[in-house]
Symmetry: C2
Subunit: 171 residues, 2 copies
């Protein structure tokens, strides 16, 4: 199931860590690619793509200069996550029927067109919280927990889960 993510309006200084978290969550929870718009930020790309090199898998984060084109060119349906949308629990079954999904997450100011172009505007609670959390819960609901079992190909290191402490092996 190819799930892509689009992060809108990245600002290199202010959003560095939040956008990094979005990228890592997209990767860890089963998305295949993430686009971001706003300010191009080589550091952001390097931190996220460097995690794929170390921990495996084909996930890639890349810049898009034109987010509207990215949305329009996507061959599938788009889901915009927003606290103003319809609660996820009311639409997730319908969304799960789609195999190709572009999950759109906003930055500080979301252009009004996003609400119009998206196939769904979906809320993970109608409370203010976090695009990182909204993305995580959306992917978890979409993949129904199967994403937690995902294996990442060709890692350089891997964790052996422990009751206490840390164990990492070089592969």
């Amino acid at each position: 199931m190819p799930v892509h993510v689009l992060r809108l309006g990245h600002r290199s200084f202010r959003d560095k860590r939040i956008s990094t978290h979005c990228g890592l969550v997209a990767r860890a929870l089963g998305a295949e690619r993430m686009f971001y718009s706003g300010e191009k930020d080589k550091n952001l790309e390097n931190s996220v793509n460097g995690v794929s090199v170390q921990w495996g898998g084909d996930f890639r984060m890349e810049y898009t200069e034109n987010w509207i084109e990215t949305m329009r060119n996507f061959k599938g349906k788009s889901v915009h996550l927003t606290m103003y949308g319809i609660p996820i629990q009311k639409r997730i079954k319908e969304i799960r029927r789609e195999r190709n999904i572009l999950v759109v997450i906003g930055g500080e100011k979301v252009p009004p067109e996003v609400y119009q172009i998206s196939d769904w505007n979906i809320a993970v609670t109608n409370q203010p919280h976090s695009e990182v959390a909204a993305l995580a819960i959306f992917l978890h609901e979409y993949f129904q927990g199967k994403e937690l079992e995902r294996i990442f190909k060709n890692p350089k290191r891997r964790i052996i889960p422990q009751e206490r402490g840390k164990r990492v092996i070089e592969v």
Copy 2:
């Protein structure tokens, strides 16, 4: 079910936004209180507690000078979220039996004692991603989705979910 959250090692400059996101996620997804250790940060407390004033409910974020004491004094079980731990899907049923839970989330460097004192060390995937996402998925799994239906008492404003666009009413 009283669920509290403890965020370790906050640094006011570097962690401001991530800790704010953790606080808002804790509130939105059904925790009752969040403690944070590290640097005391009035701005952080004000942003998170200000959301409770606007959007309702009794959630409070507060500083703790001594996180070990906070863990030891907590009347219930503690769950430390860490990528090195046992996968959540293997322990969540056991954890759900507990009514009082302290969810511990780390900052950059987690003191080794945390792994020892915690009743569980739990991983939301064994991949690097985000404490915001780990907290969100943990709470979602713990409450089994019921947290998405939560109603916040005495809000000043409330969202009326829309297919497109935004609708907020003053209450």
